[in-house]
Each structure stands twice: as C-alpha cells, then as structure tokens.
C-alpha cells in the first residue's frame, strides 16, 4: 500500500466553549479528490485552517508523505505544496488579474513573464483568463479562476477548495469540474469542502463526514445515496418541509419597470425589473451573489425609494414610501446581513425586536417606548422560533448565526405580514434550523402572505417556491412555475456560464 499524501491523526482543536475538532483522523491519497462534508459549524473550516497553517492544533499530528508536518504559517504550508482557494475571494477590484496574482507571490516575476505563465497555465487547465483584465469587471466564476490559477502557479500537491460552487451557476460548475478532473489525472490531490451532496457524488473519490467536530463516517460517494450522506451529516432523519396545495389570491405586490442605481459603488444597478407576487405565493429569486440581490431587497424594504408607481402593494403605489410606512401597510423584509443590517450587534434582543416591530406591534405611544410590551414581543419570538439564548436582554451579537437568523425571521413572521421579502433566509444556518425557517415561510404563505425569497441556494428555492426567477446583472428573468424546471433551464436564467468560455483540452 502506498503512503497517503497527507495523513491526519487525532487532530483536536478547542476554542473557548466549543470543541471545533475532536480527534479527527483521515488520509488523503495521491491524486485523490477527497470530500470533507458537514453542516455549518461542523468544524470543516477549522480543520482545513490547521492543514493550511492558519490555526495550530491543540493535539494530534499530520504527516505529509510520511514526514511530520506542522506548518507554523500559510507560507510554510505553501512551500510544502499545499494551496487553498477560499470561499471569499481576496482580490483587489481595481487591479488587473496579473497584478492581483503578483501580490500574492513571494518573488513575483516580471509582469510580462507572469502574464505569459498565467496564459499558459490557464490554457492547460481549461480556465481561459486574460491576465490584463481588471478584476472589478470579472464575474464571480472568473474571479474564482483567478484564485485557482494563483494556486496552480505554485504547482501544488494538495489543493484545498472551500465551497467553490456556492458562487457559480450550474454551467460554471461543470467547467470547474472539468478542470478539477484534469488536475486529478495529473496526480494532484484535492480536498473538496462542501455540503452539496450531488456535487460530491459526481466529483469525489472519498468523503469524510464531520459532525460537531467529530469524524462520524467515511464513504465512497458514488456508491452512497445523497440521503444517506445527508443523514450521516445531520445525525438524524431529515424532515422535508411540507407544502400543501394552495390557491393563490389576487396580486399583492406588483413591481413593474423598476430601474434604480445602486447606492454603493461596487453594487449592481437594477434594470427594468418586472414581477408580481400573488397572495399565498412564494416567488423564489435565484442568482449568483452580487447580481442585485441586496439592491432588490433595499428597493422592496423602502431603504431605496423609487418612482411611486414602480412598486404597487394591493394596487396602491408605494415606491416613494420609506421602511416605516411600508411596514404599516404590511410589507415586511428581512435582509441578508444579520449583524449590522437586520439587527444591531451590541443592542439587546428586546431593542432589536423594537427595531422593526414598533409600528405593527404597537410598541410606542406618541413616540414613547413601551419596554414591557417590547420585551414580551421579544420573548414571543424567542419561544415561537426556538431561539437559543438565556433571555431577551442579551446582545444580538452573543447569539450564534443560526439563532440570530431565527430571531430575525421570526420577528417579521410574527408581525403577520401581507408581503414578506427575505434575503438568504437560511444562510449559515444548520439544517434543523433551516428546515424550521423554511417551514415558517411556507406556513405564512399558506395563510395568504405573498412571499419573495431571495436566495443563492437553488435547492432551497426549489423546495419552497411556487415560481422562480433569477437575477443576472441587475435584470430579473421572467418568473416561471417551479414545477418542471430543469437545472439547465435554471442555469440559463441565472446567466448561463456568464460568457465564460471553455478551453477544450
């Protein structure tokens, strides 16, 4: 038997209050695509940070080709042939591709030579990329190519990829997988982190499943069903949200010819957006991040005002109304960014309940606040949505992401909205909490609320939405009934491969 490329033995890392990794052991063979599977918070990130030298393990050893391996910093890990593509890109928008890559190198060669090498590597691996293009103009998929090429230039033995497909359209995923397969055929090992089971089944040779920091099983993905893997990952039987057949009422929200510039410099302007949502309908809005999702939410919440007629609620023009006036009418929203947008981090949950609840819950009297009522509203949210916290006097930032998300969604749901707009409602939330949030959204729709769910999680949108539309560079595709939509059609609505070409190698 050959020595594995990297062998992890009993890795343990504890942070105050939580054991992120508990005696994790597994091997990655040469030329193997190894999946690391687990829910948010299962300890995947901590594990790869230890391999990449960002975090030091409390105990346990790593062996690289049989030699002890303990990188004190990423530079040392890179020198040993380990490269990592992070989920969030670290690129400068204003610089071009070659400049960005040069910035990450120890001894960058002359710009001309570097550009030539970038061209060469990108052609070889089927990732065409012009080294002189400005990064700010690239799509998410192309930016990821920059990061991958940056790694490939080091000629890595092990490439770590953290949730690489979360920003890609289905077509872009196919292109990426071709590249990864080519790397494998050349003997490069890949550690592939994801929670998307179908991807892992197509791509990976082996999978290690983490749950609550422990290695709970290994499998050969191609021979294991997605459902079995999911249950190993979650540790219990998954509950699929229930949807009962519903009748849609009349149109609750009507957006027509909506165009607004983005308030932020690197944002995306919305261009001629049309959509209608009927009472009881869930409209799913998909799309790769940064295609106008934040702006769409801002326009619907009233943070960005528009021409009065561009948005109509029950026939009444509301485009000019601010957030408070819209809440009064029954149009409620829950933004993506929990800390700092949907909630004030250092304020208590009671104060955060007041943040959007004051109008509809009657928490003020001529401007004077009713703290007792506000506190009981916060307590109501906490109990109805199973928010894990010692009490409403705790600061929002003391809650875990999933719990705060439940609070933020619950705060809007409990106000009985007529229209509810949510952006990434289950982002970074564990599977059980995500299921309960989705169920709450569906229950609300069953009671006749018109729901717009903006999300980058296609599985989620397919699960809960009645019709589907996609945002692509600020334009919204015409909504279509979800039933019967194929992955290819969805991908095309999301902008296909965003003009990315495939080099055939």
């Amino acid at each position: 038997m050959t020595t594995p490329l990297l062998s992890l033995q009993g890795l343990t890392k504890a942070y105050p209050g939580v054991v992120a990794n508990d005696q994790v052991s597994f091997d990655i063979g040469e030329g193997e695509v190894h999946a690391l599977l687990g829910e948010n918070g299962a300890g995947k990130s901590t594990l790869v940070k230890m391999i990449y030298g960002l975090v030091k393990p409390d105990s346990g050893t790593m062996l690289l080709r049989g030699q002890a391996f303990a990188p004190p910093e990423p530079r040392a890990a890179r020198a040993d042939g380990i490269a990592m593509v992070f989920q969030h890109f670290s690129l400068f928008d204003a610089l071009n591709v070659a400049e960005n890559i040069a910035l990450g190198m120890e001894n960058p060669p002359a710009m001309g030579d570097l550009a030539a090498r970038i061209r060469e590597v990108s052609e070889t691996y089927g990732l065409p990329l012009d080294p002189y293009r400005t990064v700010g103009d690239l799509s998410a998929g192309e930016r990821q190519r920059v990061e991958i090429i940056r790694c490939l230039l080091q000629d890595p033995k092990l490439l770590i990829m953290d949730e690489p497909t979360s920003v890609l359209t289905p077509q872009e995923v196919d292109i990426l997988f071709e590249t990864l397969n080519k790397l494998r055929s050349e003997g490069t090992s890949i550690l592939y982190i994801s929670h998307k089971l179908e991807e892992i089944r197509t791509l990976c040779d082996h999978a290690t499943i983490l749950r609550l920091g422990k290695n709970v099983g290994e499998c050969v993905p191609a021979e294991t069903s997605a459902r079995d893997m999911a249950e190993m990952m979650v540790g219990s039987t998954l509950q699929t949200p229930e949807r009962s057949g519903r009748e849609f009422g009349e149109v609750a929200l009507d957006v027509s010819g909506l165009s607004v510039p983005s308030p932020s410099e690197f944002g995306t302007a919305l261009k001629n957006v049309h959509m209608t949502v009927r009472k009881g309908e869930v409209l799913g809005v998909g799309g790769v991040a940064g295609n106008g999702q934040d702006e769409l939410l801002g326009v619907l919440s009233g943070e960005i005002t528009t021409a009065p007629d561009a948005i109509k609620f029950n026939g009444q023009p509301i485009g000019k109304l601010g957030p408070t006036a819209r809440r009064k009418l029954g149009v409620l929203t829950a933004p993506e960014e929990r800390l700092g947008h949907a909630a004030a981090p250092d304020m208590s949950l009671t104060e955060n309940a007041l943040l959007t609840g004051s109008v509809r819950e009657g928490l003020e009297n001529n401007g004077f606040l009713k703290w007792a009522e506000t506190k009981s509203f916060a307590e109501k949210i906490i109990s109805a949505f199973d928010v894990r916290t010692p009490g409403p006097e705790n600061a929002a930032r003391s809650l875990s992401g999933g719990n705060l998300q439940k609070f933020v969604i619950g705060r809007e749901v409990l106000q009985n909205p007529d229209v509810l707009v949510v952006n990434q409602p289950t982002w970074g939330v564990d599977a059980a909490a995500a299921a309960s949030i989705r169920q709450a959204i569906l229950d609300l729709a069953a009671k006749g609320t018109a729901v717009i769910c903006i999300s980058q999680d296609l599985d989620e949108l397919m699960e809960i939405s009645d019709s589907f539309a996609a945002l692509n560079e600020g334009r919204l595709s015409a909504p279509r009934t979800t039933t019967g939509l194929t992955v290819d059609e969805i991908g095309l609505m999301m902008g296909g491969a965003h003009g990315m070409e495939v080099a055939h190698v």
């Binding site: 105050p16 030091k56 393990p57 409390d58 303990a70 004190p72 919440s301 009233g302 943070e303 601010g322 957030p323 408070t324 006036a325 809440r327 929203t333 933004p335 960014e337 800390l339 700092g340 947008h341 949907a342 909630a343 004030a344 981090p345 250092d346 304020m347 104060e351 007041l354 943040l355 959007t356 004051s358 003020e364 401007g367 004077f368 606040l369 703290w371 705790n394 600061a395 930032r397 003391s398």
Partner: protein, 360 residues
C-alpha cells in the same frame, strides 16, 4: 503572553467600574508625576480633590464648582446626543459664543427697560444663536455632504472673530470709556442671570443643565427618537432599515447640541461673566467634548463627569497657587484622566487573559 479576547457581550459591571478605575489610576500616576516634580503626591492629590469640597475655603470653592460645571454639563449633554449617533459636532465653542452674543444682544436691545420678559427673551435668543451656528454645518452636511467636523470646527474661529467685532463695535458699552466689551449685564437687573440662592453658585444655567440631564435621559431611554439616535450610532445600516431618516437626525442632533451650547453661553454672559468681551470664551466648548466621553455619553455619567472636571479645574488652580505646581502639570493630570478612561474602556468589550502556548 497576554491576549485580549472579545467578550460575547459588553460587560455591565465594567462599564460602571471603568470611570472609577480610571480616576484611581489617574490619582496613582498623577501622584507619581507630582512626586517626580518634587511635590508631596498625597498632599497634591488631596489639594486637588479635597480642598475645593471640604477645605478651609470650601464655602468659596463649592459655588465655583456649580458655576464651572453647569456649562460643561449643558454643552456635553447636547454633544453626547450627536456623538451617540455618530454626528460629530466639534464646534460647541463657537455655538457657545454665538449664544452669548445673541443672548446679550437681545438683553442689551431692551436696555434699560425693566420688565419680567427681558430675561426669557434672552434665553430664547441665546438658544437660537447657538442653534443657528450649528444649523450651518447641519444644513451643509445634509444638502452637500460636507464633513460636519471640519465645518463646525472652522465656525469656531469665525465666531471668535464675531465676538471680537461686537465687543469693539455693535455691543460696545457706550459708557465704557472706549474699553472693548459690552455693558455689564450683572448691573442690569432684568437681564441678570443672578444666583437663585445667594452664595450657592446656583443660577438658571445650573437648573437648565439639570433639566437637560433629565431630558436627555428620558429621550435616550424612553423615546423612539433616542432609540433611533442610539441605533444610528451602533449600526447605521440597521437604522436605515428601521426607517430612520438620517437627514432629520443630523438636523436634530446638531441643532439640539447647538441650542444647548448657546444656552450655556447666554447664561454665562448674563451671569458669572457679565459682559461680552473679546476673551469671553475660555474653552468650555472643547472641554465639554472630554466631559461627554468621560461620562460615557450617558446623561448621568456626564453630570458626574462635569462635576469631576470642574473639581480638577478648581483643585488644579488651588494646587497651582498653594503648592506652586505648574499649570502644565495640571493639564497633564487632566489628560491622564481621559487617557485612562479610554484605555480602561477596552475592558468593557474585551477581557484580558494569559495566552496558553499553542503547540502543534
């Protein structure tokens, strides 16, 4: 090695304890400073903190505490509203001057009329003058997006020029033998902001400062506007999401702090100072910024901080005259107080722990 670790949420205990710890640290390190200067540290600290309150001449110094503390508290309360919302009015000194000019001008316009309504009109005029001076940066910020820090600060120097101008021209005492400065309002009964209880130092400005403290407390803790102010400071994006209109908030916060600074100037010119003169302003508007932060932008804290600041001023003066401490040493001492407060503030959000050596 020592590392700072962020607390999951701010510590209540430390937020109350830091001002006390800061005062203690200032006493210790100030004592060391005085010792190095060759003075008995215990005697020096005692002079600064004890003498004004309980010393032999306390009957004279105690009213001075109110006279010095009231404008500081009044201005700091106004500033704290803006600071809470991230609106930085640095020009309270200018608003204080304009309040004094408007207030005194209104009073002198009625001279020598003896009527009960002269003083109330002066109060309104003083508040208006301060409000007007703060409304300039507010309007420019809302309309053109200018930086209120720079505009309000520069208007201080404009106000100082106006003060010199009216002292020499418009408001100059016609019976003043050509000396610069207005008539003395202390000798104009209807316009005089006299002590309410003789010898107590308690004048209308002190009363107004106390009312402002209560008003600010209720506003910040019991009213939607105060909630919006705090929300805007803590999370501007969340505030926008909650429906706060930033322009309205800027106009309110700057306007309110200007009006309160103007009132402070008016009470000062009609009372302890008595006349508009070129050197009327002594830096209350700037010191109030320190008072606002020393009081952690909390109304009650500001009340205590204003008192403490007045104490170090008066105590410092006594220490200068009795012990021969240099004025600069007193200023260093006051600087230490702010320094330690800001430094220990860190403990509200972070805790210190010894880092274990992490071994692979």
């Amino acid at each position: 090695m020592i590392v700072l670790e962020k607390r999951p949420q701010p510590s209540k205990a430390w937020s109350y304890a830091t001002p006390l710890v800061a005062v203690l640290a200032t006493m210790v390190f100030g004592g060391i400073l005085f010792a190095i200067l060759g003075k008995n540290p215990i005697q020096a600290i005692g002079t600064i903190f004890w003498e004004p309150l309980f010393g032999e001449f306390a009957f004279y110094y105690r009213p001075q505490l109110l006279v010095k503390g009231a404008p500081l508290v009044l201005i700091a309360i106004g500033l704290s509203l803006g600071f809470r919302a991230g609106i930085w009015n640095i020009g309270a000194e200018g608003q204080y001057i304009m309040g004094a000019i408007f207030g005194a001008g209104a009073g002198l316009a009625f001279y020598p009329l003896d009527a009960f309504y002269v003083f109330p009109i002066m109060v309104i005029a003083g508040a208006f003058g301060g409000w007007l001076w703060a409304a300039i940066p507010a309007f420019l910020k809302v309309r053109f997006g200018t930086n209120e820090i720079l505009v309000s600060l520069m208007l201080v120097y404009v106000a100082e020029q106006m003060l010199a101008s009216v002292s020499l021209g418009l408001l100059k005492n016609p019976e003043g033998f050509g000396f610069p400065g207005s008539r003395n309002l202390q000798s104009y009964e209807s316009a005089h902001n006299a002590e309410l209880i003789a010898g107590s130092g308690m004048h209308w400005g002190v009363v107004t400062a106390l009312i402002a403290v209560i008003f600010a407390y209720v506003l910040l803790n019991r009213h939607m506007l105060g909630f919006h102010i705090r929300l805007t400071g803590e999370a501007p994006r969340a505030a926008k999401f909650a429906g706060v209109n930033p322009a309205r908030l800027i106009l309110f916060c700057l306007g309110m702090s200007g009006a309160l600074a103007g009132l402070a100037g008016m009470f000062e010119v009609a009372g302890p100072s008595g006349q508009v003169s070129i050197d009327f302003n002594v830096g209350y508007g700037f010191t109030a910024i320190i008072v606002a932060f020393l009081g952690r932008l909390h109304p009650v804290g500001i009340l205590l901080a204003g008192g403490l600041m007045a104490l170090t001023y008066i105590g410092g003066e006594i220490a200068q005259s009795q012990l021969g401490l240099p004025a600069a040493a007193i200023q260093v001492f006051q600087g230490m107080l702010l320094f330690f407060l800001l430094a220990f503030d860190l403990l509200t959000n972070y805790r210190i722990r010894a880092a274990r050596n992490e071994v692979a």
